[in-house]
Symmetry: C2
Subunit: 139 residues, 2 copies
């Protein structure tokens, strides 16, 4: 999917693609594939790949270490993605569409029938700090 | 060039592409074209487009408002770009290659014969704070 979208990875990056199933073992429905380009103390950038119908379940990024929590901008690169953001409702992002999600705000997203590639531009990612609504989830 | 690389912009983004000639009126040699996706207080993401041989002249991002200054990661998406970073020397980025530039560090970059598209992931951009080595430059 990344190659089809014209996104080039190095061989090392291809080896390091993260497959996140959130500990639920239902990857076809709940999960996504992640390429992390950079994740410093200040800035993080990723490509998120979702197969058709895959979803990233509802969660939020609470304050950590006295900071305000992770701020994320999602930009759809290919396919389409349905995005729910607490207080804003649901929207559908198509290629070129984007949405910035404030810290500590519940959100989830699900790919449409073609799947989706979504670029994420954010402050530092600290996955272990994420709070998921479904208590069975282990990130 | 963006369309060829599979990068989709909205009509409003196409209208808002920034053409930076640094006040030198030598755009063929010194300048670049910029799409800013997002620029909040914490995170900025852009696509930088350089025509064949175009360069972004040497500059640094000094501390502002008590913060450490802008941190940038450049990731080459298409073409190639020669990048100089003070203390690291010159390197050539090809698609999939990237480099993180610490705050307040002199750097410049120049596209190869095919031009280049470079994604920039950074902390907030405040162009007016940039310090260029060439005193004739007005950002």
């Amino acid at each position: 999917m990344l190659a089809e979208a014209g996104i080039v990875l190095t061989p090392a990056e291809r080896e390091a693609i993260e497959v996140a199933d959130f500990g639920l073992a239902r990857l076809d429905e709940i999960g996504l594939e992640i390429v992390t380009y950079v994740n410093t103390e200040r800035v993080c950038a990723k490509e998120l790949v979702l197969f058709p119908g895959q979803m990233c379940p509802e969660h939020r990024h609470p304050p950590v270490d006295g900071g305000p929590g992770k701020e994320e901008t999602f930009r759809c690169r290919s396919g389409s993605v349905q995005l729910y953001v607490d207080g804003h409702g649901e929207l559908v992002l198509r290629p070129g569409d984007q949405c910035t999600i404030p810290p500590d705000t519940l959100h989830w997203f699900r790919a449409g029938d073609e799947g989706a590639i979504v670029s994420e531009f954010s402050t530092q990612s600290r996955d272990e700090a994420d709070v998921f609504t479904d208590p069975r989830i282990v990130r």
